[in-house]
Amino acid sequence: MKRAVRSASTEATPNSSDGPRPRLIAVGGGKGGVGKTFLAANLAITLARAGYRVIAIDTDVEGPNLHTLVGVKNPARTLADFIAGRETNLLRLIVATPTENLGLIAATQGNLAGAAPEAQRRAELLAALRRLPCDFVIVDCGAGAHAATLDYFLVSDDGLIVVHPEPTSVENAYTFVRAAFYRRMQAALQKHDVRALVREAMDQRNARGIKTPLDLLREVEQMDPEEGQRFVETMRRFRPRVVVNEVATAEDVKLGFSISSVCRRFFGIDADYIGYLNRDAAVREAVKQRRSLLDIAPDGDAAVYLRRIARKLAEGVPLPSEEAAS
């Protein structure tokens, strides 16, 4: 049964575009050490235990950990095989995990040189993720705001930004939101001069004094109303979701609302606050024992909060069993 995901997947062809596409959930947020991998692994396990078919993928090629947290010690196959072109079928990279319904595509191990995929390879990877035969693909993004990280984040249906209640993490989260936003804008806009303007605005100390996406929007609207419309549309569809990790006080809980408010007021970006996890000994224990939080403390606060986030992400996604019944 453990191999349910994999056996189902190896039978399918990678190009089968029929049937429902999986929901892609990216877990990112800029700062390292804020719990992205922990959240990705435990969300994947929570969704899989709820009965969804889930594939977790580690794109953090510089510091891959996801396999450890989903209980796989030495993944036999990794994304490196795909990046190096040794394997073109992503399905063959899926390895089974101890959790039923949960498959893993591990990140490269042991090959530190030239681990990040080229843009072309990345585009193929992103397209292949969309065709994976499952209900959810959970993408663990690395730290930072590199082009590759941003692309994984932007291609997803839900991009989670994990924040710690501390200035460095909040700062990096905003940097990440800003970078992701501009990258998406570059891809969405069509006219050469407008795209050049966006590029210019990416430099925080640009000569035009454009500080925020809202400033940029005004410039774009002046330059080209049609592109302005496209800008607004793209802005509306860019909806990262905020998770505050390691809250210790009610004040920390409120930080998420405040970040949402600042995103709206300063950036003009709607960033829903989707949930928080508390600072919990069970979390440390789960990482230490390389087991799921749901095993360590199934009724603890952290597990309650985790399930709450998972429930929100799964809203409107039918379980395979429900689909079969209907």
Partner: protein, 206 residues
């Protein structure tokens, strides 16, 4: 979103014009702490002078909207003018806008199951953004007793009759239904610590 100078008081507080007095209060509290000088949320994006401008607008918005007479006059003026588009146009399709209980929207636990244990009480309090010290001054219950309630350390709690009183005050201050919280929690107390008397005279029957 419109520039700050063009936003209405409602837009400043991220409210709709239908907001109740309580919603105005809550939104004000959230806005004030979000744009406070030492706020974590504004760190690295806002310059101090920008924050000062926002804070002034927040205070002004609250001054007008929290006063019935001023609010009515303001509403009339708003309605007389050209129809303003909601500033939060990017948020307009978001049904969970801040006007609905800003501190609890989306994080309310299902209260169907009727289980109110200490951990649940703590989660509900946190979700409502209420710190223990604030709760302590609102209920006049010491922080150590509040902690004991949430941690279910029944041995340190006083006699049952007091625990009942604590719970009622706790529930009211956090905005929970005391009629549901108190019996559910007391059932747990009774199981672990049957009838602790008001005066420690009687021995527990063996």
């Amino acid at each position: 979103m419109k520039p700050l100078s063009e936003q209405t008081h409602y837009e400043i507080l991220e409210l709709t014009p239908e907001a109740s007095a309580e919603q105005v209060e809550r939104a004000y509290r959230v806005a004030r702490s979000t744009y406070a000088p030492d706020s974590l949320a504004t760190y690295s994006v806002y310059e101090e002078r920008d924050l000062t401008v926002i804070q002034e607008r927040i205070e002004l918005a609250y001054k007008v909207l929290s006063d019935d007479g001023q609010r009515r006059a303001y509403d009339e003026k708003l309605n007389a003018g050209p129809r303003v588009e909601l500033a939060l146009s990017f948020a307009s399709d978001d049904e969970q806008s801040l006007e609905e209980s800003p501190e609890i929207r989306g994080f309310e636990e299902s209260v169907e199951d009727g289980l109110y244990d200490g951990a649940r009480l703590r989660r509900l309090r946190m979700a409502r953004g209420i710190e223990l010290d604030r709760l302590s001054s609102a209920t006049k219950i010491s922080i150590s007793y509040l902690n004991a309630l949430e941690d279910e350390r029944f041995d340190v709690l006083p006699a049952t009759v007091y625990v009942r009183g604590f719970l009622t005050a706790y529930a009211r201050a956090v905005g929970l239904d005391a009629d549901r919280v108190v019996p559910a929690y007391m059932e747990r107390v009774a199981k672990i610590r049957p009838n602790k008397p008001a005066r420690p005279l009687l021995r527990r029957p063996r």
